[in-house]
Symmetry: C2
Subunit: 199 residues, 2 copies
């Protein structure tokens, strides 16, 4: 048996782990969550099924980690939002980027698949909240807090509510496909939130 | 063969139809969308499977109609919102009732099941928009339009956006189970929408 703790085998393990997570995301985009199988992930990643089962107990667990890895590579818990001192300009930038992501089929397909699972699975919903949503929300709230200190947002504004007003309309419009996802839409959401929570 | 157009057989048909739709909603609440079968619906409704297939081509179609019937019995296309002349009071009443519905397990379970399907099914999403959401949204927009005429909402407010700001935060909080669904929360959403869209 090789010793898993030697530098070479660690590197090899990490490479396999990344290949598995990438294959998982690619397959979800191509065939949808329900049709993804451990067999297909293993074939696509060029590893054996037993390699996957060594690290993850189930298909759901691999899929969840494939999203978590995406968020980590985008900054993970160290994520920060732009702070030019102008909350309106900074929020427009962030919201336009977010709207563009949800309008991008390559990005939105796996997120849609994850949402379909979350709706009926309270445990997965809790994991999603804690591991994926909360670190990002905390970063957003840090930026909103600095706007409160600068007198650009009401000092008593409930920051969870501010985030809901910014993001929930976009989320619902995307999930139910009820309207266009455009830069103008992103700007409208920023205007609404700033009007609703101005000092 | 009995003549389906005699009054007696029409009444019998309508009774069977209602029994099937009620059985469908009950089973979705109890076992979840995916485990509901045409066999189980037929057994619960006390009809034969062929009676179901005479009226509906698929499980999805019965389930969709079971929701549509719910909305019709609640007022359907003839739905109107209270109009006391005070948009704040009227919206509080409506939003508190909506929040209470989403906090009620008996109500929210079938809606959750429907949402899980809608996420990955653009055709069902379109049916949902046209047949279920639009008539209700039109009624809400009629009430908002009367508030615009009374000078209580900005004359140029985009009413689809007003509805998104009122309902999307509640929808996301409910779907992702991210916070409590209370009367105070309903009131906050009304306050936010009225501040964001005041004249």
């Amino acid at each position: 048996m090789p010793n898993d703790r030697t530098p070479d085998s660690s590197r090899r393990s990490e490479r396999s782990r990344q290949a598995i997570l990438e294959a998982t995301r690619a397959l979800i985009s191509e065939v949808g969550y329900r049709k993804v199988s451990i067999e297909a992930i293993a074939a696509r990643a060029g590893v054996g099924k037993q390699t996957i089962y060594r690290w993850w107990p189930s298909k759901g667990a691999v899929i969840f980690d494939s999203f978590l890895a995406l968020s980590e590579s985008a900054g993970g818990e160290g994520i920060t939002l732009p702070d030019t001192g102008d909350i309106e300009a900074d929020l427009r930038l962030v919201m336009r980027a977010t709207v563009a992501e949800f309008a991008d089929p390559a990005f939105e397909k796996p997120i849609r698949a994850l949402n379909a699972e979350i709706v009926n699975d309270p445990d997965l919903a809790a994991q999603y909240r804690e591991k994926l949503a909360r670190p990002v929300d905390d970063a957003k709230k840090a930026r909103l807090r600095s706007a409160q200190q600068a007198g650009q947002l009401a000092a008593d504004a409930d920051l969870d509510l501010v985030l809901e007003v910014l993001y929930a309309p976009l989320f619902q419009r995307w999930l139910h496909r009820t309207g266009p996802l455009t830069p103008e839409y992103a700007d409208s959401l920023v205007d609404i939130a700033l009007r609703a929570f101005r000092p």
